[in-house]
Assembly symmetry: C2
């Protein structure tokens, strides 16, 4: 039970947070109208676990990422960006498939993604990866690697390794039907994952895709019924609800200025994990997650320059 | 036997040239160095058979294209471009996979492509497509659809339909190992196709990928041995060699000014087919193919504005 006023204890491990999964290119249209012939797309570093690993380094936390990219210029670019924050590509596999991409239109609301998945789900279990998981305090993944083999089997194996070695596991249930093979029941599989991990942070959209439309508190209940130990349901400007099944706390948004929502959820995870690792309570860590997210929302881009966790804590009085 | 001084006769059919296969997005880096964070890529209409269908309309020939695109903004954009030259998307299937893309760096020599194949090879045999093939004078395809199921079976079926109904078939043996599934012998499959069609136009690079390095005349011989009825081997600035097995003719390049080589091969096919359909001899049609190609080489882009075939014929004195 993760009591809100308690601190979560971790084993002494070399890696604070190991994220596994999608390291990819976001290609974002330069203009809102991308119907014209000469539309330009700008290339950005992307992938939710990759963003989290980057943010954590900026917050002074020893993060690592395990991912697969193509043996191409895009893969080289992503690795260079990781190295720029001190992450060596020891756990990055270079595979013969092309580096995955997500093409996005520029949008004032939610952009409609076009997925080009190729290298990202080729990550397989290796003894090196298993060793890295054993050497971590927290393991994090999203719906991307579990949507396709062979990455799905790799995640299943790593969850078992994590359970055997008292590693905390966070899971982003960012289910999207476009990620899943047509003949596979993604909703059922994602639901089956919820009880196997420690932390889940669905957005209200994620919850609706998994359970249909319902009141936020009911959605939280559904995650708890699936065996979730700590659920944090985020609702954009309407704040968030967190519950461990016996305590439920609501959070107001800390965002005062919204330039770009891209990466806001990744910023939450980053602040939350950074705070947990630094020995703050569960409740304080959730608040710090929202503070880092509010800071990120003021700037454009999925990964922005972040000051120290202490500075952000002071800025948002959490 | 396609004698060089003879005219090829066609049945009276509604469609002059039906191209089948890749209709996709070319994403081309704005700068030669695409290592930087803020690299932009420009989006262009692309896919070799799509370029040929576009060119043919500009040359006043009734072309059609059968292809599969995604139900996404990129697919909509491609369809709009086809409609701009009068091609209605009757034979364009909108599938649940993403519209295929090729990402290219800007290069003064040959750019290195990164392939994102998804919708393009989902094209299947339908009675509507079969009817369109039966209603055509010429059928054209490249290595893209034959590299992957289900499009491969569709092409095999359409070649049979073409044979039964006296439709001439052109095949671009643009073999590239990146197009083929790793466990499939693409070279052997492409070779098996050569004898089933009427016209093949390998570049010297294509020939080298299929047969290894050799003298141009030897490469032509190898295509003839595989059963090719008319081989046109192009060698860039070194011109071309064409052979029907008993007659062999060499062609000098007509290009005087080279701004961009993208789409030069597609321009050849367009001029060649346009000329054949207009009742010119085989040799004159090959010359007109090189004239249209030379005209295209003066401008940037795969599909450029083309004057009438007669104007180009006059410009290059062929």
């Amino acid at each position: 039970m993760f009591e809100f006023q308690n601190v979560i204890t971790f084993q002494d491990r070399a890696i604070d947070v190991l994220t596994i999964g999608e390291l990819l290119i976001d290609l974002i249209a330069a203009e809102y109208d991308d119907a014209l012939e000469d539309t330009a797309y700008y290339r950005f570093f992307g992938g939710s676990p990759a963003n989290i690993a980057m943010n954590l380094r900026k917050l002074g936390i020893n993060s690592q990422i395990a991912a697969a990219v193509g043996k191409d210029r895009l893969g080289d670019f992503l690795i260079q960006r990781l190295q720029s924050v001190g992450i060596e590509p020891d756990l990055i596999e270079k595979v013969s498939e092309s580096t995955s991409m997500v093409l996005l239109n520029k949008s004032k609301s939610s952009p409609i993604p076009i997925f080009y998945r190729s290298a990202d789900y080729q990550l397989t279990s290796t003894s090196k990866l298993e060793e890295a998981v054993r050497g971590s305090k927290i393991l994090h993944f999203s719906c991307w690697p579990i949507s396709m083999p062979p990455a799905r089997q790799m995640i299943e194996t790593m969850i078992e390794v994590a359970a055997q070695h008292h590693i905390r596991v966070g899971f982003d249930p960012n289910y999207h039907p476009m990620l899943w093979p047509k003949d596979d029941d993604g909703v059922a599989y994602v639901k089956s994952m919820v009880g196997k991990v420690d932390f889940v942070k669905p957005s209200d959209d994620d919850a609706e895709r998994l359970f249909g439309k319902d009141k936020p508190m009911n959605q939280v209940e559904k995650f708890l019924e699936l065996g979730a130990k700590l659920v944090i349901l985020t609702m954009g400007k309407d704040g968030a609800i967190a519950s461990n099944g016996s305590e439920t706390v609501t959070f107001q948004t800390l965002a005062t200025e919204v330039a770009d929502t891209t990466g806001a959820g990744d910023a939450f995870w980053s602040g939350f994990y950074a705070s947990l690792v630094k020995g703050n309570s569960v409740q304080e860590s959730i608040s710090l997650g929202f503070a880092v997210s509010a800071y990120k929302l003021r700037y454009t881009g999925a990964v922005v320059d972040l000051p120290s966790l202490e500075t952000i804590k002071g800025m948002y009085s959490v």
